[in-house]
Structures are given as structure tokens and as C-alpha cells.
Symmetry: none
Subunit: 165 residues, 2 copies
């Protein structure tokens, strides 16, 4: 069983998540999580728990400047609120113009004992699609069915955005 045990968000999903995190402040409500998950499902495999964890991790990572070295940047003792402005931080940085990557060897199966020394390394796996997503309307379904997919996450349904507008 070589299935992925760990969810890995696709770039599109990441994009959406980042955007949501950027505009959202804190922990999304449960309904929101469901909604987001539903939308993200259109772009890849995802569960509500994944989205929830992602937001939690994201927030925890954002608030890691004064408390601990935690995981992330080197050391940021600034008192500025990074929660909304961490745009300046660059996490996934790749070194300067050294990205002249060798030809894509599309096989990193390290456990494989076979010597897959395929001499042909013609990169062929790059069909990067447009980043534009047809992510249109997020279903504003007023379906308050309470699914216990992730159990009680302790999410507060305090501000239901749907009711606000």
C-alpha cells in the first residue's frame, strides 16, 4: 500500500487556503471549514480534518515569533503582528538563480531496491496548468447538517458569516 498517508495540498488548494487565511482572521468556524473543504475537494483530495489542521498550523506558525523558536523563521523578535502581514516572510525560498534544475528524474523511490538507472532523463512531467481556477461560487448552501466528520473540533460557531451579510 503505497498510498499517501499524509495529505499534501495541491498548489491550487494551497493557494485557496492561503487566500482564505489571509482574509480570515482566526480559526474558521466549523461551517466554514466544511465549506472550504467542499470547495477544495474540487481541486484535490482533502478532508475537513485536513483543512482544519492546516489552519491551525498556519496560525500557530504565524504566531511563532516571540514565543519560541518553534518551527519556521530564524528568529523574529519584532512585536509586529504578523498574523495578517506575514506576506513579507518567505518560507519556501529557493536559492538564487540556481534553479537550472537537471532534467527531471521522475523517480525518487528510495526504498526500491531495483537499480532504476534509466539513462533517459528527459523531463516530461511538466504540464503546469494555469493557476487560474474556475473556482466560482462557493456553495452557499444553507444546509446546517451537522456531520461529525472530524468530531468536535472545538470550533466556535460564533460568527457565522452567512448570517452576517
Amino acid at each position: 500500500m503505497t498510498a499517501r498517508q499524509r495529505w499534501t495540498p495541491t498548489p491550487l488548494q494551497l493557494q485557496i487556503l492561503e487566500r482564505l487565511f489571509d482574509q480570515g482572521i482566526g480559526t474558521p468556524s466549523r461551517q466554514k471549514i466544511k465549506d472550504i473543504t467542499k470547495e477544495l475537494s474540487q481541486h484535490g483530495q482533502i478532508a475537513e480534518q485536513n483543512a482544519y489542521n492546516w489552519f491551525q498550523n498556519r496560525r500557530a506558525r504565524s504566531m511563532r515569533k516571540q514565543h519560541g523558536v518553534g518551527v519556521g523563521s530564524s528568529n523574529n523578535k519584532n512585536g509586529e503582528s504578523e498574523v495578517e502581514t506575514e506576506t513579507l516572510n518567505e518560507k519556501r525560498k529557493r536559492p538564487d538563480g540556481l534553479l537550472a534544475l537537471p532534467d527531471g528524474n521522475n523517480n525518487n523511490n528510495l526504498i526500491g531496491t531495483t537499480t532504476t538507472t534509466s539513462p533517459r532523463h528527459e523531463e516530461l512531467c511538466f504540464q503546469c496548468p494555469e493557476m487560474r481556477s474556475n473556482l466560482h461560487l462557493l456553495g452557499v448552501h444553507s444546509d446546517p447538517r451537522d456531520e461529525h466528520l472530524v468530531g468536535n473540533l472545538g470550533l466556535s460557531d460564533s460568527y457565522n458569516l452567512y448570517d452576517h451579510v
Copy 2:
């Protein structure tokens, strides 16, 4: 340039780190990390994050040795006497199966030159790890806050209410 993209501890630093690790500090607190980093700074360049990561990796590595991964074949490379009786607590078990994604959508055609004129292929080729690597190298990791890129991400107006302008 071409400097150490990755921190490499000097032998002296490694010595200190190992000694500290041997003392039984399974989880050094942040203050400890700071202190240790201070100490290590006298022997070479280091950041708190480095020390933190080092301890994390060290601990994870030790745990792995004890339990034995048993990936696939009987790839048992035991014989390490370095593992001490530090913290052989019970390993955190994670009952899988919850997020076992079906492999139906994992067969991403990388070549993509087929006559698949399907209109929506946004996330078609973004599941395999090898592609992720290539994408990283190419810096295709989408900019989180790129407005025009995210353009019609379709953050529906319901969500925009957080965007208090």
C-alpha cells in the same frame, strides 16, 4: 554566495549538541534552545532554528531506530548501539485509514500531450511527489498573495465579509 544553504554543524557544535541530547533533554524548552544557541554561536554560525531542528531530528531518529520501520521488506538495519534508554515511551500511534485516499485520481498523466481537451485540468498533475520537487525547484510555488494570480479564485462574497475594507 553558494554559501551554506543548509546549516552544517561544526564538529564542535555537534559535540555539544550530542552531549546535551545525551543528558536527557528530550524536549528542550525554548529558553534552553536559546541558551544552547548562544553557546553554539561561539563555535560557529548557528540559529535557534537550527538547534531546534537538530534536536527534533535527533529525537526522531533515535525513536526510529528503536522501533524499526519495517518498510516493505525486512530491511532491518539494526545494530546501532547509540540509542540509549532515553525515552522509549510509547510511540504515538496514528490509526490510518481515515484519510486513505482512493488512487483513482493519482494516475496523473504527466505528458499531457494527449488529446484530452478537457476544459478543467487545474489540478490534474499535482499529486505526485516527484512533481512537487520539480515545481519547487522551478519556483512555481504559487505566490500566496498574488492578487492577479488568484484573481477569480472565487472567494465568494460570503467570505469576503472578512475583508473589512
